[in-house]
């Protein structure tokens, strides 16, 4: 057990979770207090001792399922899925019977023989009755039938999952469930929209459970095939705050969005605090004397005036062309989430034309909505819709350049891939002379800077700093330092 735990902890560390030695020891002790056959209890015990942040839970769960999947007696029975032990075949027989096809599959050797219609019927029943046993069984058959798993292939299982799900066509299953729910209500009266919505959400949740069951099943088989460590390596994903924004998948982006909100709130709280405590104002004589009365006139507790630090103005100029759009979105999001920390935030977006989009954020209390409007309404195309930093910058200078003052910080977001247009770097030079700071955030890895059509170096000489900003963690650090 201890060896297994050590391997598990090592895997968590490789996945990027900060697990200290003390926590490892705690986990080892905790395991002694938990009956080992209770897999859930074990999971929570390890989770409580090893994982100290909610965003890391997912990575933990994944590693846990891989490391502790097959060794558990409760799920071990599933290991002989191919052979088909008594219980599962019986249940299959029952389900098949319910589906209107008598149990000719009894002893027929697992799910290999079950037909597509029967499988669909089985899943339908499982969903309708919300029966976990039946769901797991259906998942096993579905994987048998559709995943087409080949032993020894070094893949992470997403491919198998995709294949299984495509064949199952869960959307149609959902439709059928809904239709059925409508029919069950009584053919005369239709469901009210509210009821329909609730039923839909219920079935969606059930189908989600099925999807997870299938995922678990695939992973379990992969572990049996290739061993925990090898699999862990191929399914390991970066933690949400370390995901490269430019190359994030859709799921990862969704995950990022979820992290973004608490992140910006945290940042705002921290900055507000820093502002209040960063500097002490001058001694407040009146308050000190007033306060000293309770200590017999001895000024034990000096009072200070509150400092009034000036807040910076921010001009954000963001490239929203296809290549860096997701990055710009996140940055705008974050800047607006903490806009109370700045006296004024104005934002401009460009591709080869440039447009001010501050108005979209005003009045919208949800930055996501504003960003969406920017993408659809802002007028940023001038000629062909390929990034032209030079033109965008010179137009900016011409139209808004005079509004940049000595209290303004200018942030430029983009990869500086200019499609071989003129750089017009003099604009930045001019801005730097008037503005307090000019920063450039580049979502590309530093190694790529200056390669191909990237002309970041031409701009860099006119910026106070050029920052590599690929992950939320880096972005958070930068914005924190800025305010």
């Amino acid at each position: 057990m201890l060896d297994l735990l050590t391997g598990f902890v090592a895997e968590l560390r490789r996945a990027g979770l900060p697990v200290s030695l003390t926590e490892h020891l705690d986990a080892a002790e905790a395991v002694h207090h938990i009956p080992l056959e209770d897999r859930d209890a074990l999971k929570y015990a390890l989770g409580a001792t090893l994982v100290k942040s909610a965003t890391h839970w997912r990575a933990f769960e994944m590693a846990f399922e891989i490391y502790f999947a097959t060794r558990h007696p409760g799920t071990g029975e599933a290991g002989e899925g191919e052979v088909g032990d008594g219980r599962s075949t019986e249940a299959a027989g029952e389900a098949a019977g319910a589906a209107g096809a008598p149990g000719q599959r009894r002893g027929g050797g697992g799910g290999q023989g079950i037909s597509a219609e029967e499988l669909a019927e089985l899943l339908f029943r499982a969903m309708q009755r919300d029966d976990p046993g039946l769901t797991a069984l259906g998942a096993r058959y579905a994987v048998d039938r559709y995943a087409g798993m080949e032993p020894g292939r070094p893949v992470g299982g997403t491919y198998y999952l995709y294949r299984t799900l495509r064949n199952l066509d869960l959307d149609r299953l959902l439709e059928r469930l809904l239709a059925d729910a409508g029919a069950a209500q009584g053919s005369g009266t239709a469901l009210t929209p509210l009821e329909e919505r609730l039923a839909g959400d219920e079935y969606r949740a059930r189908i989600d459970r099925l999807r997870r069951a299938i995922e678990t099943e695939i992973r379990r088989r992969l572990v049996m095939d290739r061993g925990a460590e090898a699999l862990a390596r191929s399914v390991r994903k970066p933690l949400p705050e370390d995901v490269d924004v430019m190359h994030a998948t859709r799921d990862e982006l969704a995950e990022l969005h979820r992290t973004l909100h608490p992140l910006s709130r945290k940042l705002a709280v921290r900055l507000a605090r820093k502002r209040r405590h960063g500097r002490r104002g001058p001694l407040d004589f009146r308050a000190t004397v007033r306060h000293s009365l309770s200590t017999g006139g001895v000024p034990v507790d000096p009072r200070f005036r509150h400092p009034r630090p000036s807040k910076p103005e921010i001009f954000v100029i963001a490239d929203i062309s296809g290549s860096v759009a997701s990055f710009a979105r996140f940055t705008l999001h974050l800047v607006y989430a903490i806009s109370s920390q700045f006296s004024k935030v104005r934002s401009f977006v460009f591709v080869d034309g440039i447009d001010e989009v501050t108005r979209f954020f005003e009045g919208a209390d949800d930055p996501a909505q504003a960003v969406h409007r920017i993408n659809t309404e802002a007028d940023v195309i001038w000629v062909d819709g390929h990034s032209d930093y030079g033109h965008a910058l010179s137009v900016f200078h011409q139209r808004w350049g005079a509004e940049v003052t000595s209290r303004t910080s200018v942030l430029v977001l983009g990869d500086a891939r200019n499609n071989y247009h003129a750089s017009e770097a003099w604009v930045l030079d001019d801005l730097q002379r008037t503005a307090r700071h000019v920063y450039w955030l580049n979502p590309e890895p530093r190694d790529y800077w200056g390669s191909g059509d990237s002309i970041i170096d031409e701009y860099a000489v006119h910026c106070d700093d050029v920052v590599e900003c690929r992950t939320l963690r880096q972005l958070e650090r930068f914005v924190g330092d800025l305010a």
Binding site: P18, S20, T22, E23, D26, E29, A30, H32, H33, I34, P35, L36, E37, D38, D40, A41, Y44, A45, G47, A48, T49, V51, K52, S53, A54, W57, T192, P193, L194, R197, L198, D201, E202, A205, P262, R265, K266, V269, R270, R273, H277, S294, T295, G296, V300, D365, D366, A368
Partner: protein, 330 residues
């Protein structure tokens, strides 16, 4: 009791080891374990109206066995504080609560010298000295006086010290620990890991009975590694449908099963929308209570729309929910 004998042996072994460790460290014993098993915790908590899921029960059980504090995080209104209260009620302990806020310091959290009383004491001394009959060397007098004014009589205990010194069983709740500054967190560390408080003038005060400690955080900032390391971590999220339904049934008197089910399902659907502030458990309960008071037996679209403001706290959220869930009526 359903454990196989081999496991039981392992458990006993480990327990022995732990006791020895603690003796070696000079720590107080936590007394007999408070809980029998994980399902036991769950059952007991349910009996006083707190419906814990597997995760919560496991962590509470472990916190008792390992004598470690529990750091509870999660969205507001999911029963973090209530957990500590319920555990206190269950174990028949006194609940000592330290509400954290910005600017909390040693004198509010640990202990403080009662300097007004000390001043009075010194003044009284001066009066005595002024009388001619009392004359003596100054130095020993000062020494006496110093020992005198830094004795326990002049000590004001604050929650942390109080929890450590308590003779009876206590549950210490450090509420919203994320509100204090990073530096102030350090105050907690000694208490949390060693269950002791060092007072320079008096020495170290050790716990005679280990308290159960719960810290809650709303996650407005990242807590320090040092603090997290010393705690078991528990994240309480919005409950699953079944559990929420049970919570509603258990906490709202006079609610019918159908209504509870409907409430739980509507709330679940609301949480899937992208709202600024999804409804929490406490808001769900408020809503359910309102419906019961209004005598609603089954929620329809208009009824839902009229009472939505109890569940959601932002106008945009309310509009959005009404549009998404109840739109076709309009």
């Amino acid at each position: 009791m359903s454990e196989p004998s081999s496991d039981a042996a392992v458990g006993a072994d480990a327990a022995g080891g732990v006791a020895w460790d603690r003796a070696a460290l000079g720590l107080a014993d936590s007394g007999p374990p408070r809980f029998e098993s994980v399902p036991g915790v769950r059952r007991d908590l349910a009996s006083i109206g707190y419906l814990a899921d597997e995760g919560i029960a496991s962590v509470v059980y472990l916190a008792d066995r390992l004598a470690k504090p529990v750091l509870v995080e999660g969205p507001a209104g999911t029963g973090k504080t209530q957990l500590a209260k319920s555990v206190a009620e269950l174990t028949g302990s006194r609940l000592i609560r330290l509400q954290c806020y910005e600017g909390l310091d040693e004198s509010k959290a640990l202990y403080e010298w009662n300097y007004r009383k000390q001043l009075l004491r010194i003044q009284a001394q001066q009066v005595e000295e002024a009388e001619p009959s009392v004359a003596g060397a100054r130095t020993p007098r000062w020494k006496e006086l110093e020992e005198d004014i830094f004795s326990e009589d002049f000590l004001l205990t604050r929650p942390l010290l109080e929890a450590i010194r308590a003779q009876e069983p206590v549950v210490l709740l450090v509420d919203e620990v994320d509100r204090v500054e990073l530096e102030t967190e350090a105050l907690l560390l000694e208490v949390l890991s060693e269950y002791q408080v060092s007072i320079p003038e008096l020495g170290t005060v050790r716990a005679t009975r280990l308290p159960m400690v719960f810290l809650t955080s709303n996650n407005t900032r990242e807590l320090s590694e040092a603090l997290k390391r010393r705690c078991l971590y528990l994240h309480i999220d919005y409950p699953e449908l079944d559990r929420e339904r049970e919570i509603v049934s258990a906490r709202v008197p006079g609610i019918t099963t159908e209504l509870a089910d409907q409430v739980a399902r509507i709330v679940r659907s609301l949480r899937t929308l992208e709202l600024r502030k999804p409804p929490s458990v406490s808001e769900t309960l408020d809503w359910a209570r309102t419906l019961v008071v209004l005598g609603v037996e089954s929620i329809d679209a208009t009824g839902a729309r009229d009472t939505l403001n109890i569940l959601l706290k932002y106008q945009t959220d309310i509009e959005r929910a009404a549009k998404e869930l109840l739109s076709a009526e309009a």
